[in-house]
Symmetry: C2
Subunit: 150 residues, 2 copies
Amino acid sequence: MSLSIGQVAERTGLSVHALRFYEREGLFVNPVRRGPSGRRIYSEDDVDWLTVCIILRASGMPLPVLSRYADLVREGAGTEEERLTLMREHQARVTTQIGRLTESLDLIRFKVAVYEDLVDQGAAAHQCHAPSPAAGEEGTPLLRQEAVVE
Amino acid sequence: MSLSIGQVAERTGLSVHALRFYEREGLFVNPVRRGPSGRRIYSEDDVDWLTVCIILRASGMPLPVLSRYADLVREGAGTEEERLTLMREHQARVTTQIGRLTESLDLIRFKVAVYEDLVDQGAAAHQCHAPSPAAGEEGTPLLRQEAVVE
DNA sequence: CTAGAATCTAGACCCGGCTCTAGATCAACC
DNA sequence: GGTTGATCTAGAGCCGGGTCTAGATTCTAG
C-alpha cells in the first residue's frame, strides 16, 4: 500500500514539512520512493518506522542519533552491536530523565500542598472573619514558603 | 550574606551569563541588589529561589511561566490561588511527561532485548561455526525487528 | 602603580527542531 | 480547459533557551 505525504502526515501526526525535513536529516532507513512526477510515495513500513521515530523523539533522542540509528539499520547485519549500544545509551538517558522529573515532582507536590493549605486557610479566615488564627508563626511567610524543600 | 555573581554561578551551576539572562527575563522575585559600583549582590534567599527555579526548569517549566510565578510571589498575599493553579498545571504536565517517557521506555527496552538476543546469537554462531541455527524464520529480520512494539 | 581577574551593558550569535514562503508543477473535477 | 488543491524545491524565518563578544569599568594582589 502506498501513501502520499499528506496521508502519512495525517496518519502520523507529523506535518508534511516535518516529513520532508526528516527526510533531509536522513531519518529514513530507505530512500523515500518517488512517483513519475517526483512526488513522494510512502509505504506502510515507512509509517511504522516513523512511529518508532516519533516515540524515540518523544523520549528525547536527538535527530543526529536517530539518523545514525537509521544508517545502522540500513547497513543491515553486522551493526547490531552498535545499535544495541545506541539503544542502551538512550535507555540510560531516558531513565535518568524520568528520575529527574520524579525528583522535581516532589518539590512540585510540596508546593501544591503548601498553597492548598494557604488557600484553605484564606477561605476559612474569610468565613469566620478572623485573620487566620491557626497560621502560627507568620514572620515572612511569603519568603518562607518559597524555601527549598530539601 | 551577600554573594557576587561569580559566587552564585559557582553555587548554582548556572553561568554568569544565564544569571544575567534570567534577571532580564524577570525570574527574580526581588530586583537583584547592586553594590556602589553597579555590581550585582545576591543574597542566600536569591540562591534558594534560584534552586527552586532550576528544579522547575529541569521539569520543563518554560521561562515565561517561571517569570509569572515570580511575579505572583512578588505581589505576595492574595495570589495564592493563582500560584496553586500554576503549580497544579505544571504538576499535570510533569506527570504526563513521566508517563510518556515511561511508555517510550517500553519500546526502548524491547529494542534493547531484541538486539541483545541478536548479538548473543551472532556470538554463538561465531563460536560453533554454524550460521545461527536457532534463528528460526529469518525472512526479513532487519525489517521485522524494526516493527512497532504495540 | 600596575597587571590581571571579575564585572558591567548592549547586542549579536548559536543550536535544535521545526515551520513557513515563494514560485513552479501536477492531478482531478466540472 | 480552467480552477482548485496537493505536492515539489530551495531557502528563509521562528522560538526557546541560552552563550558569547566588545568595549568599558572596577576590584585585588604584588
